[in-house]
């Protein structure tokens, strides 16, 4: 295997922050080199230097033996480096073929004019799509295809540029298990063609499966490079965070049947058919997880329970008392809380500081006139924020900092804080650790456990099986709008859950 890219002793100094101090990183032909580290460890900065977005303060980059002190985006592209960012950069309004050749469209001559040669473009695009296993008409608009297909378009685009090095930034973040498998097939094929892949991910299990080598960064410094075959998941975690992390957060108790039922849903049904006749109970001290494919009805059910989306029928009991939930406001009044899947879209207020993000909920809950009436009590606001900051270990200079200045994990703690400040009793977590680094993940799991131990109800929806298996005491599996199987912690394994969530229901 020959070396495609070698970064040597790269330093990047931003005003006030040393983002990278002396990192060396190498990409060989035919390998998947995993870049691992918590948020803020410097992975993105390192890759931005490679793609020409940032210029290194010192250090060298050699590509196929040619030495650079810094790259421009043009250098990077001309030297066959492609980056596939987490936020995909495809253009929705264009067709697949147009996306592949944007800026590089094949033309034909017609008298004095250069016209787009659609026939040639579509034919070339078709070939590229076949190489990445994208089974779509290349004239389809990109807005009409799924996220994983968009990703395939990006990979095909890298191939269109004849890229030798392809950097993938958290490519599996929003893919289902099946789509991840498909992506891995493509990656293996790219490897065989002698390309070098940089794979950035937080998901250790995937890393173990697809990676050949791994380089770990921590706080902008180089921790080490290992062969994947020589390390365990635990080794990687301790390299990343510099300490051993607890793997299980389950209750000491194993059987909850004799415990009080603190939350119960009976025969919940939605008009759109996404949830069909679902019933379940949550016992005191128990963490109940919901697994299943995206679109199987888990999140849809939670949104209906919380009143954010309409339901057709069904009864909800909080601590044995039947409650009527007509919208989020009445859900909140009845002690429900919902930590939504997308922090930025439906979780926090980017125009508010930390304390305002926390106080909004108790203010609404304690107001009169349906959440509208009353005055702001600035003292309570301050004390709620300080209390949650303390309790949840929110890392910030002050609660008057804007929430967008915090890391994903701390933003999530602020969101949890707003629900706790309102004294919520049943807390629904939808994908609670999406895009959160390993260290914060473990903190959030511990928080969930201590909430359950305090007697609060904790419901978790997650697409990450290791997460459910290490946190939940009971796991219910959704398929096509129904709970098809419920596992206790002792019975649950990844294989069983995957089988239950994918196979036909007649078993």
């Amino acid at each position: 295997m020959n070396t495609l890219v070698k970064m040597d002793n790269v330093v990047k100094q931003f005003p006030g922050v040393k983002a990278l101090s002396g990192i060396s990183f190498e990409i060989k032909s035919g390998e998947v080199h995993v870049l691992l580290g918590e948020n803020g460890a410097g992975k993105s900065t390192l890759m931005k230097i490679l793609s020409g977005v940032h210029k290194p303060t010192s250090g060298t980059i050699s590509i196929n033996g040619k030495v650079f002190n810094g790259l421009t985006p043009k250098d990077s592209r001309e030297n066959a480096i492609s980056v596939i960012y987490q936020e995909l950069s495809v253009i929705n309004e264009l067709s697949i073929a147009e996306n592949l050749y944007v800026g590089n469209i094949p033309t034909k001559k017609l008298g004095p004019f250069n016209l787009v040669d659609r026939e040639k473009m579509n034919k070339m695009a078709q070939k590229l799509c076949e190489r990445v296993g994208l089974k779509r008409d290349v004239r389809t608009l990109v807005e009409d295809i799924s996220i994983s297909e968009k990703q395939q378009v990006e990979i095909a685009k890298a191939l269109a540029y004849e890229s030798r090095v392809i950097i993938m930034d958290e490519p599996t973040a929003s893919l289902t298990n099946e789509e991840v498998n498909h992506l891995f097939e493509i990656i293996k094929k790219l490897k065989k063609e002698g390309r070098g892949i940089v794979f950035i991910s937080h998901k250790l299990r995937e890393i173990m499966e697809i990676g050949d080598r791994v380089t770990v960064l921590k706080d902008g410094t180089y921790v080490g490079t290992k062969n994947i075959s020589d390390v365990t998941q635990d080794d990687l975690v301790s390299m990343m965070v510099g300490r051993q992390i607890k793997q299980s957060y389950q209750s000491k108790k194993e059987n909850f049947e004799n415990e009080e039922v603190i939350f119960q849903v009976k025969n919940l049904e939605r008009k759109d058919g996404k949830v069909k006749n679902v019933s379940f109970s949550l016992h005191k001290g128990e963490i109940l997880g919901f697994s299943g494919l995206v679109g199987s009805g888990r999140s849809e059910m939670m949104n209906s329970i919380f009143g954010a989306e309409p339901k057709k029928s069904g009864e909800i009991f909080v601590f044995g008392k039947k409650v009527k939930i007509s919208g989020p406001y009445s859900a909140i009044k009845n002690g429900l809380a919902m930590v939504t899947e997308n922090r930025r879209e439906s979780g926090f207020f980017s125009n508010f500081d930390i304390k305002q993000n926390i106080s909004i909920l108790p203010f609404i809950k304690k107001s009169f006139g349906g959440g509208v009436g009353g005055l702001i009590n600035f003292n309570s606001e301050k004390s709620w924020a300080e209390k949650e900051k303390e309790k949840l270990n929110i890392k910030c200079f002050s609660t008057e900092q804007n929430i967008t200045e915090l890391s994903g994990g701390n933003q999530q703690k602020v969101i949890l804080g707003k629900w706790l400040a309102a004294n919520s009793k049943i807390i629904i977590f939808d994908e609670p650790t999406k895009g959160i680094d390993v260290g914060s993940k473990s903190e959030i799991y511990s928080l969930m456990r201590s909430l359950a131990d305090e007697g609060k109800g904790v419901l978790v929806v997650s697409s990450e099986l290791p997460e459910l298996l290490s946190v939940c005491d009971t796991i219910a599996v959704f398929r096509e709008g129904e709970i098809v199987k419920t596992f206790s912690r002792k019975e649950a394994t990844e294989e069983k859950i995957i089988k239950a969530s994918t196979t036909e229901k007649s078993e």
Binding site: F348, F349, N351, L361, I364, G371
Partner: protein, 326 residues
């Protein structure tokens, strides 16, 4: 000091420069404009009636702008403000000419403003269309209604007590209209800064989805916002009527431009969730000064339009430019 603390101090000072700019850019522009005026026409500028005139002229715009501010705060807009001003003014004038007690007419005028805002808000809630579309429509509809009820002609001849009360100056220098504008500003500032209603409106403007999941009644708050805008325009319509002394069916045409400009110059974010009443008041005042200044420098009214447009773009561009440099 270690390298880290130096870096931090540097960052801090950069931050405080930004904070200073954010806080005082509007005041800065205002002072600059006043200085330009004072230097170019010192004798006129330093006469006592100048300030009175600027205050009186700005007040109508400030009243409308404060309502517009709420619409922009929830990432919407209200293009119907000018038409509401005209319709409320026309309705009041008709009532008073028909012999209705002026005080009752004023109260009815405010209610009509609230009702028109209620219609705007309800249409936005029911159709789920962007307020731009809804208020673009009601702008035309309400202007049409005004023309119909007035038979396309001006109405005058209402009680002198009304016009005198509105165009009076308190202590000889502060116009009544400014007192009204200040009172409305104080009430609205209180709502935005001290009440849960205000906080919820900022939340709604910052993130509609998060607001919904936090239990905020999105429709109700949208409705309240447009009612506030309607009331502000209604009050402005009454004030304008008193100052002009007649109700013109085409009154306040294009005033939404000034209202939007005042809000934006005053630091309100077009994307919603950010801005303050005080900023809007200053923004409205700036526009008043520009208008007055152009009259003072005897620019032809045709050219004034051009200058106003250019200044709106210039001031907002400057603000955005500074914000981007961070």
């Amino acid at each position: 000091m270690s390298e880290k603390t130096i870096a931090k101090t540097k960052q801090k000072s950069e931050q405080s420069v930004n904070a200073l700019w954010q806080k005082f850019s509007t005041v800065g522009i205002l002072v600059l404009l006043l200085v330009i005026l004072a230097v170019s026409r010192p004798q006129l500028f330093f006469s006592s009636s100048t300030l009175t005139q600027i205050l009186a002229q700005s007040s109508v715009n400030i009243l409308i702008a404060m309502g517009e501010f709420f619409a922009i705060l929830i990432a919407g807009i209200d293009l119907s403000v000018g038409s509401i001003v005209a319709l409320v003014g026309m309705s009041c004038a008709k009532m008073m000419v028909a012999g209705v007690n002026p005080v009752l007419s004023i109260a009815a005028g405010v209610l009509i403003g609230a009702f028109l805002g209620f219609i705007n808000g309800s249409l936005v809630n029911v159709t789920k269309l962007h307020p731009f579309i809804i208020t673009l429509g009601t702008q035309a509809i309400l202007r049409g209604v005004t023309l119909i009820i007035s038979n396309s002609s001006a109405v005058f001849g209402f009680p002198g007590s009304f016009t005198r009360a509105i165009s009076k100056n308190i202590f000889g220098i502060i116009p009544t209209v400014s007192i009204i504008a200040i009172a409305v500003a104080l009430i609205l500032a209180f709502i935005t800064q001290k009440t849960k209603l205000g906080r919820n409106i900022y939340a709604l403007g910052g993130n509609k989805e998060s607001a919904w999941y936090s239990g905020i009644n999105v429709n109700l708050h949208t409705l309240i916002v447009f009612i506030i805008s309607g009331v502000c325009s209604g009050v402005a319509g009454i004030v304008l009527l008193g100052r002009v002394g007649s109700a013109e069916p085409t009154a306040a045409t294009g005033f939404e431009t000034y209202a939007i400009a005042a809000s934006i110059i005053g630091g309100t974010s077009f994307f919603g969730g950010k801005g303050k009443i005080l900023g809007v008041v200053l923004g409205g005042f700036i526009i008043g000064v520009i208008n007055f200044g152009m009259n003072l420098l005897s620019l032809p009214s045709t050219l004034q339009q051009v200058v106003m447009g250019a200044l709106i773009i210039g001031s907002v561009a400057l603000d955005t430019f500074v914000a981007r440099k961070r």
